[in-house]
Symmetry: C2
Subunit: 291 residues, 2 copies
Amino acid sequence: MTVSTEGPGTARLACIQMEPIVGQPERNLEQALDLLAAARREGADLAVLPELANSGYVFETRDEAMGLSEVLPEGRFTQALTHFAAEAGMIVVAGVAERAGDTLYNSALVTGPDGYIGTYRKTHLWGAENVVFAPGDLGVPVWPTRLGRISVAICYDIWFPEVFRLAALGGADLLCVPTNWVPMRDQPADLPIMANILAMAGAHSNGLFVAAADRVGIERGQPFLGRSLIAGPQGWPLAGPASADACEILFADVDLAAARRARRLNDFNDILGDRRADVYGMAAPAPEHAE
Amino acid sequence: MTVSTEGPGTARLACIQMEPIVGQPERNLEQALDLLAAARREGADLAVLPELANSGYVFETRDEAMGLSEVLPEGRFTQALTHFAAEAGMIVVAGVAERAGDTLYNSALVTGPDGYIGTYRKTHLWGAENVVFAPGDLGVPVWPTRLGRISVAICYDIWFPEVFRLAALGGADLLCVPTNWVPMRDQPADLPIMANILAMAGAHSNGLFVAAADRVGIERGQPFLGRSLIAGPQGWPLAGPASADACEILFADVDLAAARRARRLNDFNDILGDRRADVYGMAAPAPEHAE
């Protein structure tokens, strides 16, 4: 069921900014379901939750992460969200610590009204994640849904413009970004946070909607930035940036197919068609004065 | 000669924001030399001028552009700037309408204290440029200089994150961007212009200095944005954005080798080393619901 009153072709996107707590999976699931229910009451058709929403982020040991992880899609967190999505008629994207045998992945579940859709595994690992998780091995999949074609990237992935490109070239209309953004060096107070700048640039350069759901709070000394954002295919914010420290939900009413139209810039230019694959394939010249 | 008082390893970058006028090549050369002399008096070691600084931008016909173009490096504008650079001990990068036989390119000259360094030809053509110019056929070269390794992109080129990547992977420390930025759709008043956002994102994602010199003014009904910018390898402005409408010069004192250090983010991450070429090479899945 959805209470959205928009006509065909429109969808209400929601980014759920919340505060998972490491080592409290039951509380994290309860918080996620409460906020999902709130998004549903406001008519959301698709909701994005932060990275590692089931487990929290700052693990003291790999064993701790292992104990907080789950098998997809059988795990308790994933099953609960899948049940919610089916019952609510919503698509849900959420970060989750995934266990596959002895291997851990920093993953995202994608589930919807018709059941589990698929899994994304974070391609680019940040900092100490490298001692806990294996790098993603599923590429950047694009899933067709009733709302449009969606893809997923997680946090540091958007530091790599190749990820936006893979999604767009794969036909995605919307890139969902579960994230746990941490401070970058030398952030000026009068400019958007760099993560927001990267999201806007990636949206604009690829004609993609981007829905980034961040966490808030300080976990074992690590602060997180909030500032969740929904950007349109021109790159500009449709909702947010959210606050730096509050649990809240961003909403934006969109027609995901507008991403496809946005790529045609004028009579001469198409943002994907103008790519010069002939040039990009050229071998980079070796620097003559490498350090 | 340079009057810079910084020690070895530092350089003073200048972005010259000016107003070329179409059809007035002598006036444009005079304006460029006056502003270059002003940059030199302030101790600049390297100066970037806007796109098509010799010719102006809005041509009524291809013949008009042909008449305002010149052969590189023999042309009058290029020779005058090469003479200036040698005498001033400066590196100069400037946009120039280039003629090669019957073909026109939207190019940039790169010249320095020891003579002409090289030519860049705009890889991605914007709008009606497509009926005047041929797309660039020289790739994204990187030139070693006494200040560091420099590369060039022109205007719409920075809409393509591949260009920043080619420069960075080619070993560039600094991307010089002669540009004629035009308004983008739906620009909010309270955010940087999208061109500045793309420059900051490209600088940050690649650990590159970016020096973008824009033009100002309205030419045959086409407004230009100004807002020239020098960004550091963290992505943040070191100088600018400049005004929207005044001729002015931005300066920033930099150590270009800092770009190489900036790419090492922490004990685990290196912004170029973290690229997942294995993933980027994967064939993009065909969308199942293409229009």
